[in-house]
Subunit: 119 residues, 4 copies
C-alpha cells in the first residue's frame, strides 16, 4: 500500500491535477522548466534585502509565504521530472554521490571554494 | 524502519553532507535560496533555444544533464526547507488544495489563463 | 552637455534615487544581483505558457507589463554595475567581440548549437 | 552622427550579429526572455556564498567574471526589447517615475519595506 505522504503520491496528485484540466498540452518540458524557474525566483524574492541573520529569523508571515513558494517549486519540479520520466529522488541520491567525490571532506571543510579551486 | 528511498532519507543525507564539511555557516536561508535559483536556471538553460517539440524529445546527453540539474534543484530546495523547519512534501500537498480552489476544473479546462482571468 | 536620454543619465538618476532614500546600505552587489534576478524572472513569467508564435504577438496589456519588467531588470542591472564601478555598455561591446570569435558566421549560420559543438 | 558608445549603437550591433548568423528564427521573445534569465542567474552565481561584505570586495578574477555576465544580461535584454519594439532606456526612465510615487522619500528613507507596507 502506498504511503499517502510520499513523493510518489505527490507526483500522482500533480499528474491527475493536470489531466483533469487538460493541461498536458501546455506541460512541455520547456514550459515546465520556465514555470519552475519563475517560482524559484519568487522563493528568492522575500530574501533579497535581508541580512544573513534576518533570513534566519523570518517573521511568521514571511515564513508562510516561503513555505508556499517551496511548494510551488517542488510541484513544478516534480511535474517536469514526471513528463521526462526522471525519478527526482533517485537523481538526487545519485548526485550526492558525485558531489561527495567533487568535495572530499578533508579538502572542503569550513570554506566555500568551488571544487575546481580546492588546492 | 525508514525507507532508504524517501524524502526523509534525502534530507538526512544532505544534512549530514553539510555537517561533515562544516558548511552550516554558509547555509543561511538567503544563500540557499540563491543557490537553488542558480541551479533552477541551469535546468532551464538546455531548453532555451529548443522548440516545444524538441524539448519533448531530448537526446540522451541532454536528458542526463537535465536529470542532474533536477537533482541539484531538489537538493538545495530540500536543504533550504530543512534549515527553515518546513516539510516540503506537506507544503506541496497543501498548495495543491489551494490551487484546486483557484483553478476549478470547469473554468480552467483546456486553456492557460491565470486564475484572476477565469471569466 | 549630457544627453538626457542616455545610459549615463539613467545611472545618475538611479543613483540619486537610492541616495535620497538612504538605500545604499541595502545595495550590496549581492543584494542587487538577487533583485535583478527576481525581476528577470518576472519578465519571463508572462511568456511561460505561450507558444513561440503567441510570444511574438503579445496583447497590449501583456506587452506593457513586459515593458515594465524590462525596465526593472535594466534599473537593477545598471545599479549593480554602478556600485561595482563597471560600465555595462562597454562590457557589452567587449563581449560582442568575444562572441564573434566564439561564433564565426560560417560555422554558426542557421542553427543553435553552442560554440563548443560547432563541428 | 551616432555616438559609437550608445545604447542605439549596441542594439544595432546585436541585431547585425543575429542577422549575420540567421538567428532571428531562434530569437522569439519567449526564447530571449529565457536566455536573459539564464544569464541573470550566472550573474548571481559568484555571489551566492559570499557575505555582504565579501560581495563588496570582489577579487579581480571574480569582478571580471561579473562584468562579463552583466554584459550577457544587457545583450539579451537589449535584443528582447528590440524584437518587441520596446525602448528599454525610455521604459526605465518611465519606471523610475512610477517608483518615485510608490516610494516617497519621506516614507521610504532608511528601511527596506515594500511599498505596500509603508505605513
Amino acid at each position: 500500500m502506498q504511503d499517502k505522504h510520499s513523493f510518489d503520491a505527490l507526483r500522482a496528485e500533480i499528474r491527475a491535477f493536470a489531466q483533469a484540466r487538460e493541461w498536458e498540452q501546455f506541460h512541455t518540458p520547456k514550459n515546465l522548466a520556465m514555470a519552475m524557474m519563475v517560482e524559484a525566483a519568487e522563493l528568492v524574492e522575500p530574501f533579497q534585502w535581508l541580512t544573513p541573520e534576518q533570513s534566519q529569523a523570518l517573521d511568521a508571515r514571511t515564513r508562510a509565504q516561503v513555505g508556499e513558494e517551496i511548494a510551488d517549486v517542488l510541484i513544478y519540479l516534480t511535474r517536469l521530472a514526471d513528463v521526462l520520466g526522471i525519478d527526482p529522488l533517485q537523481a538526487a541520491f545519485d548526485k550526492i554521490k558525485v558531489n561527495a567525490l567533487k568535495y572530499p571532506v578533508e579538502k572542503s571543510r569550513g570554506h566555500n571554494r568551488k571544487y575546481d579551486q580546492l588546492d
